[in-house]
Symmetry: C2
Subunit: 123 residues, 2 copies
């Protein structure tokens, strides 16, 4: 989750006040689930590759640390809360993990917040 500088506190307040229609909730859920599943699939592949290359014991504990880091990162990032979904989607768009096209159907203001935050964070 990106930590907002003081100047973005307004965005944070705005996000908390946004209303989500049932259609928007369905779109958000689909985007969230798909992005998380892609991360997990990538994690499975990277873990299989790392494990297959292990030659010495120290690499076992490197793999353990890798998995712990991954689990904490995903637990931290993928929290399904409407008050912070805009920031999560902005992060995912910026990281190329979510196609803005998939967000079609969200209200204009939500879409604008996501685009703006994705561009701000990338700058």
């Amino acid at each position: 989750m990106t930590i907002l500088p003081p100047s973005d506190q307004d965005l944070y307040s705005t996000m908390r006040e946004l209303k989500w229609s049932s259609t928007e909730k369905a779109i958000a859920r689909r985007c969230f689930d798909r992005a998380l599943q892609q991360e997990l699939d990538a994690a499975i592949q990277s873990t299989k590759q790392k494990a297959a290359k292990i030659k010495q014991a120290s690499e076992l504990w490197e793999l353990e640390r890798h998995l712990t880091h991954l689990r904490k990162k995903l637990d931290d990032q993928y929290e399904y809360k409407y008050s912070t979904l805009i920031l999560l989607f902005a992060d995912l768009v910026r990281e190329g993990k979510l196609d803005p096209e998939d967000l079609r159907g969200l209200s204009r203001d939500k879409f604008r917040h996501i685009r703006r935050h994705a561009e701000q964070s990338a700058a």
Copy 2:
């Protein structure tokens, strides 16, 4: 490390008082290193097998727990202290991870303690 019942406290005291010659230390070190290396090789193989079979995310975190458990177990069991080596070797003999033949060269009393404790623990 096996926890001793009160009746075995004498063995524990005896172990602490045993003197190890340089030849015995070399034998002990070789047995210790070899048994640990075998455990680590087995851990590498089992980890590769588990990782290769992963199909869903929950199995990633099972692998993480497996590695954490393994690391703690090995850290706990394989402590190179002359005061407790007798118990470690007894455990390894009982578990079939150390051939008593490899201990040849240790003093009679050490060998007897190891055999006795291995048999007691198995009973």
